[in-house]
Assembly symmetry: C2
Homo-oligomer: 368 residues x 2
Amino acid sequence: MNKVAIVGTGQTKFSKNDADVEKLLFESANDCIKSVNNYDSNTIDGVLVSTNNNSKYLGAILSETIGIQPKISHSIEHLCSSGTNAIISAYAYISSGMLDMVLVSGAESANNPGQVLEWDKSRGNLEHPIYWGTMLTKSHKRKFKTTEEELAIVSAKNHKQAMDNPVAYSNQPRTISEVMNSKQITDDLRILDCSRSCSGGSTILLASEEKAKTISDQPIWITGIGQKNTSASFSKNNLEEIESTKIAANFAYKMAKIESKNIDVAEVHDAFSVCELMAISELGITSNDKSGEFVRNLFNTENRMINPRGGLIGAGHPLGATGISQTIEITKQLQDKSDKRQISNAKTGLIHNMSAAGTSSSVMVLQN
Amino acid sequence: MNKVAIVGTGQTKFSKNDADVEKLLFESANDCIKSVNNYDSNTIDGVLVSTNNNSKYLGAILSETIGIQPKISHSIEHLCSSGTNAIISAYAYISSGMLDMVLVSGAESANNPGQVLEWDKSRGNLEHPIYWGTMLTKSHKRKFKTTEEELAIVSAKNHKQAMDNPVAYSNQPRTISEVMNSKQITDDLRILDCSRSCSGGSTILLASEEKAKTISDQPIWITGIGQKNTSASFSKNNLEEIESTKIAANFAYKMAKIESKNIDVAEVHDAFSVCELMAISELGITSNDKSGEFVRNLFNTENRMINPRGGLIGAGHPLGATGISQTIEITKQLQDKSDKRQISNAKTGLIHNMSAAGTSSSVMVLQN
């Protein structure tokens, strides 16, 4: 397989306002194009759009609005992990030698579809993700003795970290006490335990090894990829684990020839507080029974290793943009360009993005 | 690049009835799985869905309904050429070595979105494809002296050929006179000049060279791929040509190391009668000024070289399934399994699929 690098990044601000998905795609793509050296519109031969929006032909529309005529353009949808699916599809096009340079642009408006799990009849009327969020939370508390305070620390940490992310949805620090006293939504979830749907656009430019050198001083390499889809319906899941994440991580580590201990910084899919604890456990960074303590220690020592941009809870969750935004954060960390959020000497980073109660997961390893 | 083969095919009947897209995906995927030797659900590591339907997470839903747990699953949308975009994406995953075996399943219900060109503000109220169909027709008549009878022959030929396609939407032969006297829709288009939106599902299974041998006695190889996206809006197009098709064909011929004269059988995107004349010209099979005569000769000699299954006009046009159904036809022709539709001694076949007034095109060359 040919090597594939990330050579450009662009983002819009994440916000609660509704916005045209076409406009968000354009703005983040334009920001991405401006980030590269020696831009030549003729060299981009692929445009992939990641969204849950129902508009059609967005790959062609984005191509026309930014003034390029790619060979390949199309849209990709896989709910909350549409973004990493689009990046990995672009990786395949470049790695196979079919394309040289692919723009991957994800966007979502706050009111877009994909936020309610309409397809899963096994849920009855419990379509909203908070229901599986609360079931996972209840199970984690019971099985691993996780406390409400430990769960609240995830949110307090990610809100705090989001304060240094200029495109984050949240611009308020939240204390542990504020999280624990925020509005109760279900037995086990309060409003500040939940990521928020919002509007936002994120774009990255991927390139072959040969092209990467012409366009970026600091290409970041995708060295590990793992994906797994275990089911579509929550009823098939074991509440105590996210099997798809464990399997995807093992594929990615094997491909990158690393172990979990080599990870310097990670963006993980904290759709709800409990998801961060489960994700870092499935990824092998800690274990479920020690995950609460692990995050408490990060918080107390101001260690931003997990979700430095604020995760989905702090930065917001514009579905189709999320996986791309996570990838941008890890790219900038490995380029030593993360300003106040910077993890010192980050060499190996990880992205974890999942869909629909963890019924599918994508894991990517990036290295500089 | 690793070689990629088509090793299984499955289809539903195309019909005017509304149908659940999940059911069409399942039925055609199930039919595809039954078509292979030594089926083992564990060997399918990718599931790509092609559709304009607004349902989300269909890759995971299809995977669960057919009982597989792939690494990668997602949906792909690019209007009328969603199907070939999904096949070519699967090609990239396999060719790069990332996956071994990918199921590509396309489906559309008759009332699905994607049939009206909402995005193109340059069209004013002329959103329906018949408006660009009529403009291309008017231009072809004026520039190339194409007659109404020659245009009617395209439809009569394709309706006739569809009679021998058991899954076709149309089951009626139509004489040239019937076409020329059918209901007038615009200045230059009658109802029988138009392909019909309909319900239908089509699935193919793609495999790496190593896996292909274990699962098929007659793998058919994808030897050429070309794609091009020139714009999103019709206003940018020259009415006398489909530039994206010409460019895509040249890429595909170069990759397959063939010339247009080597093509034994082709499925081309006859959204309207004039599109078949323009497509076979852009593909280099004939020229625009001789295209009417070329098709008349095929019709008079009962030569099924172009659109043997009846094309979009005869077989119907379930958007997300169309490109896959075209590919199934060429696969079966090269396997000598097309019954009454069979072109004798077909060795090299071509698929041409396009979107939105030809603003993007996919061309694939298959060989046995």
